[in-house]
């Protein structure tokens, strides 16, 4: 029980890391990036390939992947988003667009890496379990949890302690008002979108350890899970995502301990329940329903 709780908190931090980027990009764009999980997959393959071919430590790959994907994400923003913002129904059209993008990424990953699961099997983080509150946990879980926490703190500092972060939150609150007060909407959004994807890639670099392995088709499931987490913690609220991640992580660990065959249902059921009972999430202010 205590073991499941502690493991749940570590996994919760990790899921918060996966999901936070989706919340950032949703917050600024008002569009759901259905390809989010595929960027996790990209980060994962980057870590696996860099490790197996060049023996780069996964933590180094994590930083490299996050930076590369950040730049790619900002470029992608300028390429795609301004065009669809002009259409009749941008919210729906963007879903289809990002779905197409996720298909492209997935297909390229299959062409490049095949359909089989890949992972890093060497114990890069040591074989010694770490004792936490009297429970022996695998070292990678603790390391991943701490890295996730570190990244979440960085994002918090960015959003609440820098000028660009202020501007980002202004855009999240209201795109129109932010624009008339002189904020460069596209620049702020592109950076936030890039950060969002970069976080996904960073989480991906840890995926070989936390999720057991990387396959080309994990993207869609991860996107849904991430969406469940951010809806749970309220859309557009970065701190809520952390809470949502923790709740999800603990619930997942408890389910895996007591009801293993139903554990895969958890993200979907959680998402449906939250959307139907309290669509604003646990920490939201306004309700968005028709």
């Amino acid at each position: 029980m205590l073991y499941a709780l502690i493991a749940g908190i570590l996994f919760g931090l990790y899921y918060a890391l996966i999901s936070l980027g989706l919340n950032l990009s949703f917050g600024v764009l008002r569009m759901v990036n259905l390809a989010h999980g595929d960027f996790v997959m990209i980060g994962g393959f980057a870590a696996v390939v860099l490790y197996t071919v060049y023996h780069v430590h996964p933590l180094v790959s994590l930083v490299l992947a996050a930076l590369a994907v950040f730049l790619a994400g900002a470029a992608l923003y300028y390429l795609l988003v301004p065009r669809i913002s002009r259409t009749k129904d941008p919210e729906m059209i963007s879903l289809v667009l990002f779905f197409g993008l996720s298909q492209v990424i997935e297909a390229l990953a299959v062409v490049q890496f095949g359909n089989n699961e890949q992972s890093i099997f060497e114990p890069v983080f040591g074989t010694q379990p770490v004792a936490l509150l009297g429970q022996d946990l695998p070292a990678v879980w603790v390391v991943s949890g701490l890295i996730s926490l570190f990244a979440l703190v960085l994002v918090y500092l960015y959003l609440y302690r820098t000028r660009l972060g202020y501007a980002t939150r202004a855009v999240m609150a209201s795109r129109d008002e932010a624009e008339v007060s002189g904020i460069d909407l596209h620049r702020v959004s592109a950076i936030a979108f890039g950060i969002g994807l970069g976080l996904a890639a960073a989480a991906g670099a840890l995926a070989p350890f936390m999720l057991g392995g990387i396959t080309a088709d994990i993207g869609t499931g991860l996107t849904t899970t991430a969406f469940a987490v951010i809806v749970l913690g309220s859309l557009g609220n970065p701190l809520g995502t952390v809470a949502g991640g923790l709740i999800y992580g603990v619930a997942l660990m408890l389910m895996q301990t007591y009801l293993p065959s139903w554990a895969s249902l958890l993200p979907y059921v959680l998402l449906l329940l939250v959307l139907l009972v309290k669509p604003s999430g646990l920490f939201g202010r306004q309700v968005r329903s028709a």
Partner: protein
Amino acid sequence: MRRPQWVNAAILAAAALALALLPHVYGNQALLFQLMVYLALSQGVNVLYGFTGYLPFGYVGFFGIGAYGASLAMLDLHAAPLVGIALGGSAALLLGLVLSPLLRLSGAYFAIASLAASQAIYLVIANPALQNVTYGPYGIQLANQFDPAASYWTMATILFLAIAVVLYIRRSRFGMALQAVRDDPVSAAMAGVGVVRQRISAWMISAALAGAVGGAFAWQTSVFYPDAVFTLSISIFAIVFALFGGVGTLLGPIFGTIVLFGMYNAIGISDPQYFQLIYGLLIVALVIFLPDGVASLLRRRGIHVL
């Protein structure tokens, strides 16, 4: 919007004739069957998205529950296939009723919630713990009911009905009300349209259609695993086919399905990953250059698309 009755009658007659002649023109009946499945599903998406603006990413949930409803009725209740398909459609209708609170959600929330619902249903049906009820992950065996010709004509009938329904919706009060609700729910409510009731009706029609199609698919295929009838790509194909042609019209989704499904069969079977790549790029290009479908090209030139 109103057209004379004979135009509709002519369209229906043409559709019936085309469906009756197809097997004589083209020999691969299994392929034709799949084409009809997608023609009907894209019309189902059309009813919902084209007329209400709700994008059902989890549309495949109805298809799958229809396939399972029909199969289990045939296996456990020893129902005749046609009765089974009707029960499959009813199962989807029931599911639609249960899920109708989802319609309270707007935009992307609805799309993703419906996706989550379809995946939840899939995980329940494919769950090893329910093997005595749903046969779990090992799938369905209907080999003794297998009848390709009869199931083919059943599917053709369902498709014909789907076309008739869309034609009806396009010219009826109901369809006008739906479009009014889609474009501006508040004004529509002010004008006396029952917003919630109209939306739920469209949702149920489209659910029952997908369920019946799923039942016919189960009968035709007769041996399948749960992931074959719950794979997300069924939803996505139906949505993309409908969008490509142009939603809110009758001919748009038909055109989109024939062109894109044809393309799928030309390249998809031999090299699935390259197909996925081309397909993804096509979706992106479609959304960027032609967000309102091929029908919008004609409409821009002043041609009315049915």
